[in-house]
């Protein structure tokens, strides 16, 4: 168990910059999730930590030792691959025992450890089978057992759940998290699925186009996204992004957009001083709004009201998403429970001003 540190790590494949000046510390025993769309550089980052790729520049440390150019075998790491990479020509037992055999563990210890790992992942009765006789979920368990059997310093996982069906994925998500908490192994987990990131990670790293955008605990990243990209990448349904501008009137600051005017409380004034009279993006998450008369927002200090027209209603069972026309904008509102609003109805929307986001038009960085 060890701390992993990346310092200004860059990886180029010919002209393509896959990872660009990444600096990051993974704490000892932490479950860190690398989150981003495909091609954002998260898998390349993981592969550099594993030693399968070598950085073009920058350094990687495990604790105090520089491992930048060490081959994987000298790093005491383990990995769970996206396709599991459970070797088809070996039985489950041989698969799990492989890392131990390579590291020349004594025979009785190999047996003990394989037994231990197999029990932990509930695959003890499968040890004699070949991978072709296993289901996808079982293969995944073999891959995880193989990865933890040596008690690695760092456990790497590359989208390990993406090949499972939805139900199994939810189950394995919880199990992997429990397993990691129990083993306290430093874990770096790559995924493009924000739900996995939110539910599993101690901290999330959001990446895009080879760059690190934001690091932090899941709720932090969710509630305080530092850029337009992070704001829209995390959360489902996506955050509403509305073209708007900040205006000043006698009685205070307003956000104005097509079909709505939001009065801001005075405490926004300091933050928005430079943006008065300028265009911005307004971001509001669907669950931070409600329809007056249908439900109320909880724990809200400040709120504002705008008017809209019901355009379309998505009933999800537990929630209802109401697509509302406000001027030229379509704004999604998420309300718990079943809310059968008729299409075309005029509604009053209540907005939670504590959870309003404002982004700079040019830099797309968060102002609030």
């Amino acid at each position: 168990m060890v701390e992993v540190r990346l310092e200004k790590v860059t990886k180029k494949f010919k002209e393509l910059v896959a990872v660009n000046g990444l600096t990051l510390t993974v704490k000892d025993g932490e479950f860190l999730v690398l989150l981003g769309p495909s091609g954002c550089g998260k898998t390349t980052t993981l592969r550099m930590i594993s030693g399968l790729e070598t950085p073009t520049s920058g350094r990687i440390f495990f604790g105090d030792s520089d491992v930048t150019y060490l081959p994987p075998k000298d790093r005491n790491i383990s990995m769970v691959f996206q396709s599991y990479a459970v070797w088809p020509h070996m039985t489950v037992y041989e698969n799990i025992a492989f890392p131990l055999k390579v590291k020349k563990y004594p025979k009785n210890e190999i047996e003990q450890r394989v037994k231990w790992a197999a029990e932990l992942l509930q695959i003890s009765e499968l040890l004699k089978r070949y991978p072709s006789q296993l289901s996808g979920g079982q293969r995944q368990r073999v891959a995880v057992a193989r990865a933890i059997v040596v008690e690695p310093d760092v456990l790497l996982m590359d989208e390990p759940l993406s090949n499972l069906d939805a139900k199994l994925r939810v189950m394995m998500r919880a199990e992997l998290k429990k397993l990691q908490t129990k083993l306290k192994v430093t874990t770096i987990y790559v995924t493009h699925d924000q739900v996995e990131a939110m539910t599993m990670g101690d901290r999330i790293v959001v990446m895009n186009q080879g760059k690190l955008l934001q690091v932090g605990p899941p709720t932090n990243v969710y509630l305080k996204p530092n850029s337009l990209f992070v704001a829209t990448f995390i959360g489902s349904p996506e955050m509403n992004i509305i073209d708007a501008s900040i205006t000043e009137r006698k009685d205070g600051l307003y956000i104005e957009g097509s079909g709505f005017v939001l009065r801001l409380t005075d405490d926004f004034r300091d933050l928005l001083r430079d943006y008065i009279g300028k265009d911005i993006y307004l971001g509001i998450r669907p669950e931070h709004m409600t329809v007056r008369g249908v439900s109320t927002l909880e724990h809200v200090n400040k709120s504002a009201e705008i008017e809209g027209l019901v355009d379309f209603v998505e009933a999800l069972g537990t929630d209802t998403i109401i697509h509302t026309k406000v001027g030229d904008n379509i704004i999604k509102i998420k309300i718990p429970g079943h809310v059968p609003l008729p299409i075309g109805e005029n509604i009053k929307i209540e907005v939670d001003l504590d959870n309003v986001h404002i982004f700079d038009r040019k830099t797309e960085k968060a102002i609030i």
């Binding site: 691959f81 396709s83 990479a85 890392p99 390579v102 072709s132």
Partner: protein, 282 residues
């Protein structure tokens, strides 16, 4: 209802054709081998076996296979492993390596005659480099060992490409993650090769071995060009019996000997090289 029979109907012409062209000659060969003027007899076998050429041919056919095939498999494996790397000019190297695939055994024999004849390239080169003072004789009955060597060289030159291509295709089908997984879990290059790559390549190596061995049982053109009947082989003797002696029965016995050898060797390979993980049910 109609579609139920459609696939069979589509396969029928090809199936019938193959059945006829392979079944009929087989039956005919057996008939020719066991009869004379329409009567059952073993005299043909007596005639074939009492001629020392039969066992000579059997001996040389097998000896050539035993010498050539292991060299080819090792060479092909090494080449294929190298070709899994990326490097400059890889396309051209691949082109060069597969050229011999399209060269016939007769042409191969002739090309190697150019290389090895008394006034051929090798002798002239070595003479001019001062490494030898007399040409090395490769051809003629009194130099049969050298003729054997010439055939071995030609076959390694010409038909290693088949083995190479089969093994390369097999290598390319092994997912990279399998090998990377072994790397992550601490296996060095040789361990990965021994424990992951070669075991997973077993089916490809097996088919390469079977194909090469069966073709080796039919070796003819190159031998005929380089050594004639100095080095007798089964297919060559069959050809000789048929076209020069016009003894259809003995020629058929040679053909049957090739068929028997092919079946026995093929079965042996399948039996001894099976991969247990491919046998288990889903």
């Amino acid at each position: 209802m109609k579609t139920k029979y459609l696939p069979y109907l589509l396969i029928l012409p090809a199936g019938a054709y193959l059945l006829f062209f392979i079944g009929y000659p087989l039956v005919q060969a057996i008939y020719l081998a066991f009869t004379q003027n329409g009567h059952f007899t073993l005299a043909n076998f007596h005639r074939a076996f009492s001629n020392s050429m039969f066992f000579q041919a059997l001996k040389f056919t097998l000896a050539l296979a035993i010498v050539i095939i292991p060299i080819q498999v090792v060479l092909a494996l090494v080449l294929a492993l190298i070709m899994m790397n990326t490097f400059k000019g890889k396309d051209w190297v691949l082109y060069a390596l597969i050229i011999p695939l399209t060269i016939s055994d007769v042409a191969g024999g002739l090309i190697w005659y150019t290389m090895l004849s008394d006034a051929g390239f090798l002798n002239k080169l070595l003479l001019n480099l001062g490494l030898i003072s007399q040409p090395i004789h490769f051809f003629g009955y009194q130099y049969r060992t050298m003729e054997f060597l010439a055939i071995v060289l030609e076959e390694i030159w010409r038909s290693t490409a088949i083995v190479f291509v089969i093994i390369l295709a097999g290598l390319q089908m092994i997912s990279r993650e399998y090998i990377e997984a072994a790397e992550v879990f601490g296996a060095g290059y040789w361990t990965r090769l021994r424990k992951i790559v070669i075991p997973m390549l077993k089916p490809s190596i097996q088919s390469a071995l079977i194909i090469r061995t069966l073709f080796a049982m039919q070796i003819f053109g190159a031998v005929w060009m380089l050594a004639g009947r100095d080095i007798p082989v089964l297919a060559g003797e069959g050809y000789y019996q048929l076209t020069f002696i016009k003894d259809y029965s003995v020629a058929s016995i040679y053909a049957l000997a090739i068929a028997m050898l092919s079946i026995v060797l093929g079965a042996l390979y399948v039996k001894f090289l099976k991969a247990p993980y491919l046998e288990v049910g889903e």
